[in-house]
């Protein structure tokens, strides 16, 4: 009897092993494409999603009144066009006719108002999990009207603000639809099919889409535990598109994949707590800036790609990025030592850098910085912390000496620069400058585009001059796209635009 069981087991195992050989050829690319991602989705409800990794997936399902294009412009989506009143206190949107939700219902002004109010935290019964967009709190009222057979929605503001449009990418969802978190319904070029935790997110082409329809019938986002695990899948040819390669990995994939290179919309920096010794001394902060060789960082982490930055705006945000800041401190270890001496740290000092352990990129950056700072006598100790601790201790609690992180934002300059306004909770580095505060305030309020740009440029220079932190770079983004596919687009925000992806013409 025992022998029999053993035999049976042996047979099952070997049969299983044999059938494993055949499993590999199921993919034909017949109108379907698989994208690798390394972060599980934190919510399917677009108003509850927080992680950038979730937003870049949901971009395919949901749209706002406007949505970002690859040049960083906001183009009409659910709205056909919009008008900002001259005083900057009212935004009027003309709704596009006949836009349908994935459940077949037509988008109405009521749905739009509901969605916006939900994002702004203006609904009577609020769901505590909804991520309220703080910038939308200046909305006083939202009204609808009909004119010449078209629907208009007007957003009234408590004060003038011409940058709010960057936040109106907030997803339009059907009013009072309660299954958003399990069966999301939006207006985007793809509709939701299924989601399996830790495994996959599947969507299909929205045949009723008003705009340019997607090329592929089905797109699967395949969730991997880590970049390494995803890399194995890539080598096996199981994934068609993978957005987060390292330089070494990209090198190894060149036979099967085209490697597309773009830039991440991130301000990566060694952020220094301006209230903690010795970083309360501007000379020490400037010394840190002189001691760090950004070219070497780009070379080692991105194979020379990516963009150096010198202030709080990322390089791909072209219309506001102040390039001059990049050259405020050029690599000069001698000058760094000199400044340290002046500050009374002739023999250097030791400090701790708290790095979130889930971001291997930041951890690698930290390792390079350790060796660079060593050269001027500064000892940096890396302390790896969990992401949850990073948020509560570093970001919320301001309890840290220094950290390495990448800051992202909405397509509004006020959003990416909000981290430096004196005395606010978001100012986790405790930077204080009345000059910056007044420039920021003035820039926000002005409706004149040229003047706005100039003021934001000055604000960035102010951050650079004060050496608020060590602003490092916008990291490069290397994407593996299987040969035979074309149309992958880079966006200045977190987006994996699968509607644009198509088969390459031969």
């Amino acid at each position: 009897m025992k022998k029999l069981i053993l035999m049976a087991l042996l047979v099952t195992v070997s049969a299983a092993a044999l059938s494993g050989c055949k499993g590999g050829t199921k993919k034909g690319g017949n109108g379907s494409v698989t994208v690798g991602i390394t972060q599980d989705l934190d919510s399917l409800d677009p108003h509850k999603a927080v992680a950038a990794g979730t937003k870049e997936v949901l971009y395919n399902i949901f749209e706002g009144l406007v949505k970002p294009d690859e040049n960083g412009n906001l183009v009409p989506a659910v709205a056909e066009n919009y008008l900002i009143s001259e005083d900057g206190t009212a935004y009027t949107f003309k709704l596009r006719k006949g836009v349908k939700f994935h459940n077949g219902k037509t988008v109405t002004a009521e749905d739009v108002i509901y969605s916006l109010k939900r994002c702004a935290g203006m609904l009577e019964t609020s769901d505590p999990e909804v991520r309220v967009v703080a910038a939308l709190s200046i909305i006083s009222d939202i009204t609808a009207e009909q004119k010449d057979g078209a629907d208009y929605v007007t957003i009234h503001l408590k004060e003038a603000n011409t940058e709010l449009i960057g936040y109106l990418t907030c997803s339009i969802i059907p009013k009072d639809y309660t299954d958003q978190k399990t069966k999301p319904v939006g207006t985007g070029p793809f509709r939701f099919v299924s989601y399996t935790p830790m495994k996959s997110f599947v969507m299909e082409k929205n045949k009723d889409y008003y705009g340019t329809k997607a090329h592929f019938d089905k797109v699967t986002f395949s969730i991997s535990e880590s970049t390494d695990a995803a890399f194995l899948k890539l080598q096996a040819g199981e994934i068609d598109v993978f957005p987060y390669l390292t330089v070494d990995q990209a090198e190894q994939l060149k036979d099967q994949y085209n490697i597309e290179v773009g830039e991440m919309s991130l301000v990566q920096g060694l952020f220094l707590n301006n209230k903690v010794k010795p970083f309360d001394d501007i000379k020490v902060r400037q010394a840190m800036n002189y001691a760090i060789d950004k070219d070497e960082i780009l070379q080692m982490l991105n194979g020379g790609k990516g963009a150096k930055i010198g202030s709080g705006v990322y390089a791909s945000f072209k219309s506001y990025f102040n390039e001059n800041c990049t050259n405020t401190y050029n690599y000069d270890p001698e000058k760094a030592k000199q400044l340290l001496k002046e500050a009374g740290y002739e023999n250097g000092f030791t400090f701790t850098c708290s790095v979130p352990s889930n971001y291997s990129y930041h951890v690698q950056t930290a390792e390079i910085l350790v060796s660079q700072l060593k050269k001027v006598g500064i000892t940096m100790n890396i302390q790896l912390i969990e992401w949850a601790s990073w948020i509560s201790d570093v970001y919320q609690g301001h309890q840290f000496e220094s950290t390495i992180i990448g800051l992202d934002s909405q397509l509004a300059p006020s959003d990416i620069l909000k981290y430096y306004i004196g005395g606010t909770a978001k100012n986790f580095i405790n930077y204080e400058s009345s000059k910056f505060d007044s420039l920021y305030k003035e820039a926000m309020a002005t409706t004149d585009e040229a003047k706005k740009k100039e003021l934001y440029a000055q604000a960035q220079q102010c951050l650079a001059d004060d050496a608020a932190s060590v602003f490092l770079q916008s990291p490069s983004l290397m994407v593996a796209v299987k040969k035979g596919l074309a149309g992958y687009k880079f966006y200045p925000v977190y987006v994996q635009d699968m509607a644009a992806l198509k088969k390459a013409e031969r």
Partner: protein
């Protein structure tokens, strides 16, 4: 009477375990509500969510609430996946059990013949080489072996596609086919241990007088090993195999990450990082019960064996 006491002490162990995990989570820095809402949330929003999630009560109240739920068959709700923990279990437990089952089968299938072979020819070149190979496999950590298996068998020999895991409910055959490889990574070091154990158990047994008697009767070496030595060695192996099973359970936590198996191990690791309290609590309870019950059963088996002898 004795059995009752045994069950009582096992239950006590489970209770202590669950309480300690609960406490550990209470002490850990990082807050589930904050992790959920991300960097942009205001303190008021976080506070509101904390309240809704019941995180504002003290540890004992929360623990009490949790115990009450478990006794009513309610394992709680996953904060991250917004669904009952039992749904996640339903989805992932079978995968983990299958993985453990296949791994255990591989251990049995490989280690018994090998152990007998080594015991048949002790001191031979093959035996010495075998001991060397054994040592090597015992020293390799599971995750590393997992990567080696993926690269060599998966990408090199194309026997399977690393990461292309098929869940049990999508096709049992394909699921088992895939699980063979992670199971192999879990099993190989354990095979090495089992072979070594069996070899020495058989060799000890071989020294005994009855073997000489058997030989003198003209019974062949293989028959002696198979029919006479093995049953005795098996009795000793029971305890050992019990330990192996607990190690499979622990080993699968790591291996599931490497191979992207949608099982409880992977769920456990990601839930700790996301402060998904109820899920972690339920998983620790599950693993704890498996290990404690297993140990209890083996212990009583061994004791019974001792009594009848």
């Amino acid at each position: 009477m004795k059995a009752a006491r045994k069950i009582l002490s096992m239950a006590a162990a489970v209770v202590v375990l669950s309480f300690v995990t609960f406490l550990a989570f209470a002490i850990l820095p990082g807050d589930a509500a904050q992790a959920r809402l991300g960097t942009d949330a205001t303190p008021e929003q976080v506070e509101a969510l904390r309240e809704e999630m019941g995180l504002n009560d003290n540890v004992l109240v929360r623990y009490g609430r949790w115990v009450k739920g478990v006794l009513h068959g309610d394992l709680g709700t996953s904060i991250r996946f917004r669904c009952p923990v039992s749904d996640l279990f339903k989805q992932m437990l079978p995968n983990t059990l299958l993985l453990a089952g296949v791994a255990f089968a591989i251990i049995l299938v490989l280690s018994f013949p090998l152990g007998m072979l080594y015991a048949r020819y002790p001191g031979s070149v093959g035996d010495r080489f075998g001991v060397f190979v054994n040592q090597t496999f015992m020293a390799i950590p599971g995750f590393f072996l997992g990567i080696v298996v993926s690269v060599v068998l998966g990408i090199g020999l194309k026997l399977f596609i690393p990461g292309a895991f098929v869940s049990y409910d999508e096709g049992l055959g394909a699921c088992l086919a895939y699980l063979f490889f992670p199971a192999l990574s879990i099993a190989l070091p354990k095979v090495a241990m089992t072979v070594r154990f069996l070899r020495s158990a058989l060799l000890t047994e071989k020294q005994k007088d009855y073997v000489r008697t058997a030989r003198s009767k003209g019974i062949g070496e293989w028959e002696i090993i198979g029919k006479h030595l093995m049953p005795n060695a098996l009795a000793a192996s029971v305890t050992f195999l019990g330990v192996i099973v607990s190690e499979i359970v622990a080993g699968s936590i790591v291996i599931e990450q490497v191979f992207g198996v949608n099982g409880l191990g992977r769920l456990l690791v990601s839930s700790v990082a996301n402060r998904d309290y109820d899920v972690v609590q339920a998983l620790v309870l599950y693993i704890g019960i498996v290990v404690i019950v297993l140990n209890g059963v083996i212990e009583s088996l061994v004791q019974k064996g001792g009594e009848t002898e």
